[in-house]
């Protein structure tokens, strides 16, 4: 049945995503994935041929989704600071959903350097190029200290992504519950803006839902 087929396939992908990118079990076995989805392990091979291919599909789809989300913000014609605020919100929010996605890619590319091209192939334009002019303008106007677009974007990614990657460690060191950690990450959105611009994030941008509507 067509609808059922789509359902099972989707179910497997969804549960695999949770294991890989949410729980960080980057070497989850086909059995574990099948268990999580409550289906027979052979179905993974039925739908995806091999564990390898399932992973490729999964990464491709997930990355595309994230990149589109993020890219649309950078190419928008919002004023620079609003744009960056949106970017921070999107990155942190996406990271809250799939904290281990970046970690997964880092591990995969270390193991299989030849696959880096696959992950990066879709990005014909470097994200640092998308903010080059606006950043230059900001610097020229003395609104921000001199910095290259590359370092600026690395700073931004680092500040947003690292606390998500290091979740378990940070949570333990500071003795935070899951709720407290989520709160900490939401605080961070404003902290990051302040760190980058040395200035308070405008109140009307501080709420994710609102910023979404601005696009």
């Amino acid at each position: 049945m067509r609808t059922e087929e789509a359902l099972t396939e989707k179910l497997i992908k969804e549960k695999a995503r949770i294991l890989f990118f949410q729980k960080g079990l980057l070497d989850a076995t086909t059995q574990e994935i099948a268990d999580e989805a409550g289906v027979n392990r052979a179905l993974i091979h039925y739908y995806f041929r091999s564990r390898e291919q399932m992973l490729e599909t999964l990464l491709d789809e997930t990355l595309l989704e994230k990149k589109e989300k993020v890219r649309s913000i950078l190419v928008s014609n919002l004023p620079f600071r609003e744009k960056i605020a949106c970017y921070i919100n999107a990155l942190v929010d996406y990271g809250l959903a799939y904290p281990y996605l970046d970690n997964f890619i880092i591990s995969e590319t270390a193991r299989h350097p030849e696959k880096i091209r696959i992950f990066c192939s879709r990005d014909r334009i470097k994200s640092s190029d998308l903010i080059r002019e606006q950043l230059a303008e900001e610097i020229a106007n003395g609104k921000i200290a001199n910095i290259s677009p590359e370092h600026f974007m690395v700073n931004l990614s680092a500040l947003c992504n690292y606390p998500l990657l290091a979740k378990s460690v940070l949570q333990t060191i500071h003795g935070m519950t899951d709720v407290a950690y989520r709160k900490f990450l939401n605080e961070r959105k404003r902290v990051i803006f302040r760190t980058i611009f040395n200035e308070e994030m405008p109140q009307h941008l501080a709420n994710t839902e609102l910023t979404k509507n601005r696009l």
Copy 2:
């Protein structure tokens, strides 16, 4: 022979470190480790009983080494900005030697949450507590925008560690050779200081070797 014993054991640990923490092959097999060291695989069991126990030893030793390096800077009585400059230099330099150490811990703790305690057990004092007073003073004097010690330290770790973790991806996106990437990371030391303090890193602190001598 006593000296030989020490040699082989050390050799295995050294090569395992390279595989795990330098090359990022976080699921390297005992065979791969043995090959890298040019010894028989059974020796790993002879010296460490199991792969598991070797890993534990390795992590314990490596982390202790790094933490001591880093801790000594934070407890020193250097002026705040010099202290942070040293900290940045140390973190980036250590990361250049073992770029995947953090990534490894992140993956391990995701897989075995019960082990987090082990990794964190030695830290009786949170690093954020070590800079609390100095940071408060800095803020009181209006030398830096208001920020909690926790967020300050997370910012610092993020800015230093993330580019090391994401090495392969960043290198590919920006088409950098290994040499270029190393240069980029050294530039970053000053970029990070500027991002944190919104002010140039003093020239005399910019060189790692010099900062080492100041302790």
